[in-house]
Each structure stands twice: as C-alpha cells, then as structure tokens.
Amino acid sequence: MAATRESILGILSDVKDPELPMIDVVELGIVRDVSFDDGHLTIDITPTYSGCPAMQVIEQEIVATLASHGFADARVRMVYSPAWTTDWMSEAGREKLRAHGIAPPHLVEHSGGGIAELVSLRRAKPTTECPFCGSSNTTEKSEFGSTACKSIHFCNSCHQPFDHFKSF
C-alpha cells in the first residue's frame, strides 16, 4: 500500500465542516492522527465542542470519503484529550474564514486570570477586527452565536454585523 500520512491528509481535505463549508477538517485542526495497524487505517479526530452536532456528520463523511478512495475499512476514533483548541486551526483555514466574513480566532490566552477574570463585566476583551473592512472599532454583542463555536459582533465603522470564531 502506497498510502502515506500526507496522502491521507490530502484526501481528508475533501471533508468540509458542514457548518463552515469553506474550511476542511484538516485546516480546522480536528484530525489528530493517521495510523495504519495491520493495514487498517484509523483516523483520530477530536470534537470541537462537547455538543457540536457537526461531529457525527464529519465522522460519516470521513469514512465515506476514504471509502471512495479505496480505503473501505477505515475507521474513525474519537479522542478527547488533549482538548481541541482553536490554536490548532491552520493559517490557511483562518484566511478562508476571514474571506467568508467570519473573523478568525485569536490565539488562546493563558492569562492565568482564573475565576476573578471570569466574573467581571469590565474584563478586557481582545479587539476583533471586522472581516469586511478591517476596522478595529467593533463591539461584541454576544459570546454565543449561530453555532457553538461563534460569537456575534458589530462593526462600528462599516456598520456590518459579523460572526467571530471564538478563541477556545
């Protein structure tokens, strides 16, 4: 078998996130490992959020896509640790989000602020640039958006509401 980790990752780049179809599962950073055990192909993926409804679809898509490339017995294993972070999203993936009007995640801060930082209405929030006009003059409207992974923002410069892929 001539399949390599790279060629498998190449095939997996055909599997898109059903809720963010501009970005594939490799760019999203949820493919954690590709392994061959006695010729059986196993793909380790990790969920984004515990309740993300896209995970089941992604799992089925990975199996179907690999099958269509001749890997009929490939299986998907769900791994939970270490927990997924948006820091694993590739640069190309971030740019695709931006091009589609979704501000990409910031690098996750390890501020060590603990609980004190969690309960203040005045806590400093990182500036999220508008994906349409690039302005930094934006306002966070809600930390919860149309999917588990996004928050809702408004650009005060171009007056456009936009989604932000939360740093997680």
């Binding site: 309740g51 309960v119 209405l121 958006g145």
Partner: protein
C-alpha cells in the same frame, strides 16, 4: 437535566441574543452529559448506550441534584440557578481533569473550557439584574432566596463520592464548597444581593428522591424515545 431545562427557553428568550445563548449553553451541557453517560454505559458493561440511560431511566434512577430540575421561572430565576450551578461545575470539572481515569479527565478538560463561557454569561447577568433596576433586583433576590437552600446538596459527598475521591477518580466535592462560596460571595456583593441565612433544605436528588418537577420534565424529555423505541433517522 439543566441542559433540557435551558432548552425550554428556546424560542421564548427575552431577546434574540439570550435565546441563542441559552440554546448554546444547553447544547454544551447536553453534549457533556452525552459523553459522561456514554462512558457510564461502557463502564457498566451491560450494553446500555447514552440514549438508553437518558431516555429509559425513571426519576428514581436519576442522580441529579434538585437545583437543576427546578422549573425555569422568570429570567432572574433561570440566571441565578445557572450561576449557582456554573460555578460548581467550573470547579468540579477543573478538579476532574486530574482524574486517574483518562476518559473522565478528557471529557472534563473539554467541558471545563465550555463552562468558562457559561460562568461569564451567568455571573454577568446576576450582576446586571441584582445591581439593575428595583424590579430586576427584587426578582434576582427572590430567586436567590428560593434557590439558596438547594445549593448544599452539590457538596454533600456520599460513600461513592468518597470512594472515588480516595482512588483519585473523582474530586473531593466537599472541598469544592469553599472555592465555590468565595466566587458566589464576590458576585453577590457586586450584584448587591444578600445571601440568605437559611439552613440547607432536606434534599434527596442524589439518592433518587426528587422533587415533583423531575417526573413532569422527564415525561416531556422521554416521550419520543419511549413512543418509538429503537427509532433511527
């Protein structure tokens, strides 16, 4: 349980952003519950799936604290209940990440990241409503007065909890209380709300003796699965 309660707000939230926020938080909680129940079913080894445990157990076999089965009430009641639970959940999952059981530690690590967002959301609403108008303050204080006596149950360790803690599988839940209390005190002070001096209520949720509310809630939550057992789509 709390995930299902919150889902009852879907389509009824006071503003669109809050409707969406509660649906998101409900989804996180139901997702966490799914992972825990799946692991419980695998550990039990009798072939029960997460769905079997969620939809085919009766109230007497549920082990949730009574706080999370209380009806939603008004928005102040929902948010105060959420805050009191979120701060517990935050500290519990923080500890559970250190579990000697790697599967539990992995689920906890994921959930812990999600609960950070939940604590922020509920604590900020408690402050806004407590330190808001006379009306919002009155409602938030009433919610705290009603719910406070149910909070002690979260920290009452039973024999199983003690055994789990001794083996390093679960956290020492009694030791979480002072950490929880410090955060709750801080937020209630900012919210200008007064913590009542009432003794803990007699509760039995963790032994399967629930309030009357749980049965009504389960009847709605379980009816589709029980009407069409084994259905798939």
């Amino acid at each position: 349980m709390l995930g299902h309660r919150l889902s009852e707000w879907c389509g009824h939230g006071p503003i669109l952003e809050e409707d969406i926020a509660l649906a998101n938080i409900a989804l996180d909680l139901i997702g966490q519950a799914t992972l825990f129940l799946k692991l419980a079913g695998e550990t039990e080894g009798k072939g029960r799936s997460e769905d079997a445990l969620a939809y085919f157990r009766d109230a007497i076999d549920y082990r949730n604290v009574e706080l999370v089965e209380m009806p939603n009430g008004d928005y102040a009641y929902t948010m105060v209940r959420q805050f009191l639970f979120d701060v517990f959940s935050y500290h519990m999952l923080e500890q559970l990440q250190k579990s000697t059981n790697p599967a539990l530690a992995g689920i906890a690590a994921k959930g812990f990241k999600e609960v950070r967002y939940h604590v922020r959301h509920s604590s900020e609403w408690v402050v806004r409503m407590g330190d808001g108008t006379e009306e919002s303050h009155t409602r938030a204080q009433k919610a705290l007065d009603d719910l406070w006596r149910l909070t002690a149950e979260m920290f009452q360790a039973d024999d199983i909890d003690r055994e789990m803690a001794a083996e390093g599988i679960g956290p020492d839940i009694a030791a979480i209380e002072p950490k929880w209390r410090a955060v709750v005190d801080d937020v209630m002070k900012r919210a200008t709300l007064t913590i009542p001096n009432d003794p803990p209520a007699m509760t039995g949720g963790r032994k399967g003796r629930h309030t009357e509310y749980l049965g009504h809630m389960l009847s709605e939550m379980q009816i589709v699965a029980r009407s069409y057992p084994g259905a798939e789509w």
